[in-house]
Symmetry: C2
Subunit: 451 residues, 2 copies
C-alpha cells in the first residue's frame, strides 16, 4: 500500500461510517427508477428492433456501421447530449464459406464455425485423418501421432476462463506438434449440434494452420470412434481471411452533470458481436440496457451532479480496439472517471454487480446496492469489470460488471442461438433498473466515489 492509498483510506473512513445515509437519501428516486424501468416496454422493443433489423454486428461489416448510425439517430431523438461516434481503426476478418465433410466412417456435412482470426485452407480444402487429444499434456505425450493429422482438442467445458485457453492457444499447440489443421470442441456446456465461434491466436514463430470449432456432439463422436480404434477422415474447407483494417466507431452519449460535469460515470457494453446469431445477449442487451438506464433517468427529470456517459464500444470480440481507443482518447480525463459499469454477461435476471475498487468505495457501493433489494439485485461481489472497461480500469478507474443469473449464458455464447428470444423483457427491465440506480446515485451523491 503506497502513501497515497493510505491517505485515501483514512479520508474515506468517515464515508464508510455515514454510508447508510446514501441509500436512505435516494430511496424515493430509486423507487421511481424501479417503477419506470419495470413498466417500460420501449427498451426491450428497441433491443429487438436493433437485433432484427441489422442482424449480427461483426467488426468491419456494414451491418455494424448501419446499426451504429441507427443508434446514434435514436439517441439524438432521445435528447441525449454530445451524441457522437468516435472513430476506431479495427481489424477485418472474414469467415467466408466453410465446411467440414466427414468422409469416414460415414459421409456427413458437419456444422462448424471457423475461429476468428484463423487462416483459411487451400481452395480444395485439407483432407486428413483426425487425431483426438483431451488437453495439452495429452497432445505433448502423443505428439508423434498428431503429426500430419488434423488435431481435435476434445476438452470438456469446465468454466469459460479455463476452457477458452484451448480456443486461443490450440492452433499454435497443434502446429507445433506437426498438425495440418486444428479443430476444437466448441467452448460451451450444452449443444443442439451448435458450434461456437470466438477468437483464436497465432504466434509469429509457429506455422499458421486453419482452426475451427466443431459441435459437442461431433467431438464426442470422434472421441468414441478413436477409442474404438476406428479411423476418422475429414475434409476441411475454410475461405477465412484477414482483410485490411477499416474504420468503426465507439458510440458515446451523455446526460451532463449539473455540478461536476467533468466527472464522469461510464456505463455501457460492446456494440459489435460475432458474425452469427443476432449478438442479442452478447452484447446488444448490455448496450441497450445501459442506454435505457440513462434515457429513463433523463425522462424522470433526474439530472445528477456528475455526467453519466453511455458508451457502446466497438470491436470487443476480435480486437478490443474500442476499449483501448477509449482509454487513449480520454487518457487526460481518466482521473475524473469516477466509475465504469459494463454489462457483458447477458441481461438475464440481475443479481447485482461485481466491483473492483478500494474498500472505501466498496462500502459506498454496498450501501447504494441496498436500494436494489426490492428487485433482488443487491449483491456486490468481489471482482468486477468487463473487457471494454478493462483498459481504463488498469489506469485506476473503479470498475463494475453487472452480475446476472448466468446459467444459460454459455449455451448461446458466440452461436447462432444468441438471439433476442433467449432474453426476457422483465429480466431486461430489472437490469435497466439495476444499472440506472447504481449509475445515478454514484453520479449524484455529494461525495465523489473514492479510489
Amino acid at each position: 500500500m503506497n502513501k497515497k492509498r493510505l491517505l485515501i483510506t483514512f479520508l474515506a473512513l468517515p464515508v464508510f461510517i455515514i454510508s447508510g445515509d446514501i441509500s436512505e437519501q435516494y430511496k424515493p428516486n430509486a423507487e421511481r427508477i424501479i417503477q419506470a424501468s419495470l413498466n417500460n416496454d420501449a427498451g426491450f422493443e428497441r433491443l429487438a428492433e436493433l437485433c432484427d433489423t441489422f442482424g449480427p454486428r461483426f467488426t468491419g461489416t456494414q451491418n455494424l456501421e448501419d446499426a451504429i448510425d441507427w443508434i446514434l439517430k435514436q439517441m439524438e431523438n432521445d435528447g441525449l447530449a454530445n451524441v457522437r461516434g468516435e472513430r476506431v481503426k479495427v481489424p477485418r476478418w472474414v469467415r467466408g464459406e466453410e465446411s467440414l465433410e466427414l468422409i469416414q466412417p460415414h459421409k456427413k456435412n458437419m456444422h462448424i464455425l471457423g475461429l476468428g482470426g484463423s487462416i483459411g485452407t487451400p481452395k480444395k480444402g485439407i483432407r486428413g485423418d483426425v487425431f483426438v487429444v483431451n488437453n495439452y499434456d495429452d497432445l505433448e505425450k502423443k505428439a508423434e501421432k498428431a503429426k500430419g493429422k488434423i488435431v481435435l482438442f476434445n476438452v470438456p467445458f469446465t468454466n469459460y476462463g479455463e476452457t477458452v485457453g484451448y480456443r486461443y492457444g490450440g492452433a499454435v499447440a497443434a502446429a507445433k506438434a506437426g498438425a495440418i489443421a486444428g479443430l476444437i470442441r466448441s467452448v460451451g456446456p450444452f449443444s443442439m449440434n451448435t458450434p461456437h465461434t470466438g477468437g483464436t491466436a497465432y504466434e509469429d514463430s509457429v506455422k499458421k494452420i486453419p482452426f475451427a470449432a466443431i459441435t459437442l456432439e461431433d467431438a464426442a463422436m470422434f472421441q468414441r470412434i478413436q477409442d474404438r480404434g476406428g479411423k476418422i477422415t475429414v475434409k476441411l474447407k475454410m475461405d477465412a481471411r484477414s482483410l485490411p483494417e477499416s474504420w468503426s466507431r465507439n458510440i458515446v452519449a451523455e446526460l451532463p452533470g449539473s455540478e461536476y460535469p467533468e466527472e464522469v460515470i461510464v456505463i455501457g457494453g460492446h456494440i459489435d458481436s460475432w458474425d452469427v446469431g443476432q449478438g442479442a445477449m452478447d452484447d446488444a442487451g448490455g448496450c441497450v440496457a445501459a442506454w435505457e438506464a440513462v434515457r429513463l433517468i433523463k425522462e424522470l427529470g433526474l439530472q445528477p451532479k456528475r455526467t453519466i456517459r453511455v458508451v457502446m464500444w466497438t470491436n470487443e470480440e476480435n480486437g478490443l480496439r474500442g476499449g483501448n481507443a477509449y482509454r487513449d482518447n480520454y487518457k487526460n480525463e481518466l482521473e475524473n472517471h469516477i466509475l465504469a459499469i459494463e454489462s457483458d454477461g447477458g441481461v438475464f435476471n440481475p443479481e447485482g454487480f461485481g466491483f473492483s475498487g478500494s474498500d472505501e468505495a466498496r462500502a459506498i457501493v454496498q450501501d447504494i446496492a441496498g436500494l436494489l433489494e426490492p428487485i433482488g439485485s443487491n449483491f456486490i461481489g468481489d471482482d468486477g469489470g468487463g473487457a471494454d472497461i478493462g483498459p481504463i480500469m488498469k489506469e485506476g478507474v473503479p470498475g463494475m460488471g453487472l452480475k446476472v443469473e448466468g446459467s444459460k449464458y454459455f449455451w448461446y455464447h458466440h452461436t447462432n442461438a444468441d438471439t433476442i428470444d433467449k432474453l426476457d423483457k422483465n429480466e431486461f427491465n430489472r437490469c435497466v433498473a439495476t444499472m440506472a440506480i447504481m449509475a445515478y446515485v454514484v453520479a449524484d451523491m455529494d461525495e465523489r466515489l473514492p479510489r
Copy 2:
C-alpha cells in the same frame, strides 16, 4: 361388446383374481434380468457404434442398408434364431442442397430443413416476401394477403399431435391461398437455432409448393418484423425431389418358444431415421433396447414358452412401409400375435408402458408391471402402441408402447441434435430391463394373454 368379447371376459375373470401370482412367480427371473440389464455395457456401446458408424439411416440410403447388414450379422453372432431381412418396397425422397437466404431487412443464411416429401424449387430459387400467419383460421381470414407470398405458419408448439398438423397440412393450405412456397416454425418447444424436419403431404387437386421448416428463432423474428410493419424478403432454394421406389428391409430375429413357438410376442422399434443427426433417440435406441432385451434373456438361459421376435421396421418416418409390410407378411399369423411392444419415444428414463387391449389383459399386464417396481417403470397407462405396430394393432393385436420421461424428446426430434450423447447408458439399461421383463413374462406365463 360382441359375443366373443363377452366370452373372453368371463373366461378371463379367474385370471384377474389369481393374477397377483404371476409377479410372485417371476420375481427371481425378473431380478436376474434387472441385474443383467443394469450391469450391461455392451448394449449402449452397440447403440453408439451403430450411430457413429453409419450416421443417419434415411429410407433409400446406403447408410440404412449398411446398418441393416451390420445388425443382421451381429444378431447372427448373438445366436438369435431365424435372423432375416424381409424385403420392403420403400419411397425415396432426396433432400439435396437447400438454403433460405434472408434478403431484407438484412442478409443472412438461415438454418432450414426441407420437409420430407416436399418438391424442390426451380434451380434459381423462389424469391418472395414472407407473410406470417398463426394458424389455419388466421390464414383463411387473411388469404388475400397470402397470395403470391411465401407463407410462414408461425404456430407455437403445444403438443406434437396438435402442432404437427401444420407440418402435414401447411403446404396444401398455403397453396390454396395462392402462396408460392410455404415455411413452418419447426415443430418443437426449444431451439438453439435448430430446424426440425418431418413428413409433409400434398393433395392431388392442389398445386404443390415447396415447404420447409425454419427455426423457432427465425419464426419469432419474422413475426416481430411483420408486427412492426416491416418487409421480409427471402430466397428459398431446395433441390428436394422424389426418386423411384427402392428396396429396404424389416429386420426380424427370434428367441423361439419352447412350448408354443407359433405364439409370438413382437418387440422392437424402427431402424430408419430422418436424414439428420444420428437418429439415436428416434429410433436406434428403441431398436437396440429391444434387441438387447432379447439377447440378455437368451444369455441368461431363459427360454420362454412362446417366441419373442425382435422386429426393426423400416421406413417409419416417411412411409410406414415397414409396419404395413409386416402386417401383410404375417396376416395369417396375427391371431397368434400375443402382444406387440414398441419403443419409439426415446430410451430415456422408463416409467412403464401405455397399453391398448382388453381389461382382462390389462389386469395381467399390471400384475407383471409390479416386477418393474425396483426400477420405477411399473406404470401402465391407458393408450399404448407405436406407429409401426399400429397396422397389426388394427387387426386386433394388443399393443404396448414404452413410456419414458419424455420432457426433452421434442427438443431433439427430427433434428441434427438427435445424437447418442443425448441418451444415458443407465436410463437405456433400465429401458432394456423394462422391455425384457414384460416380453419375457408374457411369453412365458402359463395363460395366453387374452384379447
